[in-house]
């Protein structure tokens, strides 16, 4: 009997989702058992309320999330703000990175002059600029977008720079022989090659735009999911903090999945590893 059941649910490709889900449930159950006062005798803390104070209680966390999305339904505005900040940071960071990368890759002199500065700016822990941005751009979305842009810019910039440098010389010579002017080379050879590198770093750069937005909100704001977490932390409301983290995680996963879809559409000219002839 046992072996029959085991053979049915044994980890394999078909039951992969089942096991992934099971692990998630197990995680929450263990969390619940260890933090619920009175369930297990305290072994780390002096009294059994302290575990819940430090780690939160899953049931209350889910009640919190339910209230956000269904009960009070007041999280949408905050999520919307965070999303707008992420998108703006990505759009501005990616386009300036693209232009900067193209420019420096195509003019060796400018690149030679600016090289140490770019290295310095990239090496600097740019999160530390957040307080300055708050002063410059205020507590609205401007300062969060600025922080996100500084993170996204360099990822895109270096990828584009690399992409332009690695354009196949034969493809380039071929385009020239076909009569492409400088401008047409830029438009039809350098740009497509560079954008392919931008897209290959899409997951990283969108992720960093999100990080910039949330960290910016956390450091000082009046709206956004980071702000919710900051508020809750101020009143030692660990359940709301945890709920905020969970929502952010799921949100980040959703954005990542969306990026994956976009990537698949835009990069269909690129060979995938192990792809066979499709007829």
């Amino acid at each position: 009997m046992m072996t029959i059941v085991w053979n049915l649910i044994k980890p394999r490709k078909a039951t992969l989702r089942l096991w992934q889900l099971g692990l998630l449930v197990l995680l929450f159950v263990v969390w619940h058992v260890l933090t619920q006062p009175g369930l297990v005798p305290p072994f780390m803390f002096d009294n059994d309320r302290q575990a819940a104070f430090f780690f939160g209680e899953p049931v209350q966390i889910f009640e919190r999330i339910w209230a956000w999305f269904v009960g009070d339904a007041n999280i949408y505005q905050h999520l919307g703000i965070t999303l707008i900040e992420t998108l703006l940071a990505f759009a501005i960071g990616a386009s300036t990175g693209l232009l900067g990368g193209l420019w420096l890759a195509l003019s060796p002199m400018a690149s030679a002059i600016l090289e140490p500065y770019i290295k310095a700016l990239n090496a600097m822990p740019r999160i530390i600029l957040a307080p300055i941005f708050s002063v410059w751009f205020g507590l609205g979305i401007g300062s969060k977008v600025a922080l996100g842009v500084t993170l996204v810019f360099f990822i895109v910039f270096f990828n584009v720079y690399q992409g332009v440098k690695e354009v196949s010389p034969v493809v380039l010579a071929n385009a020239r022989m076909l009569g492409a002017s400088q401008r047409q080379l830029l438009r039809h050879v350098y740009l497509p090659s560079a954008t392919s590198w931008v897209f290959s770093s899409l997951h990283t750069s969108v992720g960093l735009a999100f990080v910039g937005a949330v960290v910016g909100e956390y450091l000082g704001s009046s709206q956004g999911v980071g702000y919710l977490i900051l508020q809750a932390e101020g009143s030692f409301d660990i359940n709301t903090v945890m709920a905020g983290i969970l929502v952010l995680t799921v949100f980040a996963l959703a954005i990542d999945a969306l990026v994956g879809l976009i990537e698949k559409r835009l990069m269909k000219w690129q060979p995938k590893v192990g792809e066979t002839e499709k007829l």
Binding site: S168, V171, N174, M177, V189, W269
Partner: protein, 271 residues
């Protein structure tokens, strides 16, 4: 007077290593080579003798260190606009489909999109890729990519066709097919062709004239043979004729020593 379509006069090409300016390599030296209008000329030589360098100079992609390049009597400055170039390596733009690749040159030139597309599709059909226009290069086989490259070059209707071992990556059957195809096209349009190959059979079967280059460095022409085989030719059949074998023997006698020399040099480099 009939002007030569390509005239290289006493050209030399010296490369300087970007890391060590003292290190120089002279690929070709003192090369004079003309291709008459409508002539099919092949250049053969051992590997690494600077055949591609010659072609790049005729294309205007490379400036000669010495000597001059004239195209239909005019000194060449910049890229040679009257020539189409078929490269040895992959040259299709990977982000464009076959038909977009073929029409690229036309749109660069300002031909409107629908006309360009119609011409591109016509050429794809001629090279046997009729149903494959919407494929990206990575979805095509090596032979299909070569054929797309051929279409990309010929759709521009250039007066001069420069070819750098265009068929070396193909299997023998596809290769003969494409060689015959090219000969038929050349026959009907009478283009000037400068054809680089290391395959003597191919050179003799296709050309009006075969030029032999010495082993590098500083290689230069050491022999020239007029191929008086009748046209039109079939590349597979012509190889069986006695005259072909005579020519092959005569040319090989000159080429053999150079090939051995080139081979020795490569061995020494490896040690």
């Amino acid at each position: 007077m009939n002007l030569a379509s390509i005239a290289l006069q006493g050209v030399a090409c010296t490369f300087v290593s970007p890391d060590a300016p003292g290190q120089r390599y002279t690929a070709v030296q003192n090369v004079s080579l003309t291709v008459a209008d409508g002539e099919f000329v092949s250049v053969v030589g051992p590997t690494g003798c600077g055949k591609s360098t010659l072609l790049n100079m005729a294309a205007g992609l490379l400036q000669p260190s010495q000597g001059s390049v004239h195209i239909y009597g005019e000194p060449l400055t910049g890229v040679n606009a009257r020539a189409g170039y078929m490269f040895q390596a992959e040259s299709l733009m990977p982000w464009r489909t076959a038909v977009q690749n073929v029409m690229a040159g036309l749109t660069f030139r300002g031909v409107d999109k629908s006309t360009a597309q119609a011409q591109a599709e016509d050429w794809l059909r001629r090279v046997g890729l009729g149903g494959f226009g919407d494929r990206y290069p990575h979805q095509m086989s090596g032979g299909m990519r070569k054929r797309a490259s051929l279409a990309q070059t010929l759709v521009m209707d250039p007066d001069i066709i420069l070819m750098d071992e265009p068929f070396s990556a193909l299997d023998i059957q596809t290769r003969q097919l494409m060689e015959n195809e090219l000969l038929a096209l050349w026959q009907s349009k009478k283009k000037s062709v400068l054809f680089i190959t290391h395959d003597l059979d191919e050179a003799i079967a296709m050309s009006d004239r075969v030029v032999i280059l010495s082993a590098g460095p500083a290689s230069h022409p050491i022999g020239e043979f007029t191929i008086d085989l009748p046209r039109p030719r079939d590349v597979a059949e012509i190889k069986m004729t006695p005259r072909f074998m005579e020519l092959h023997q005569a040319i090989w006698a000159v080429l053999r020593e150079e090939v051995l020399k080139g081979y020795q040099q490569q061995l020494q480099k490896a040690i």
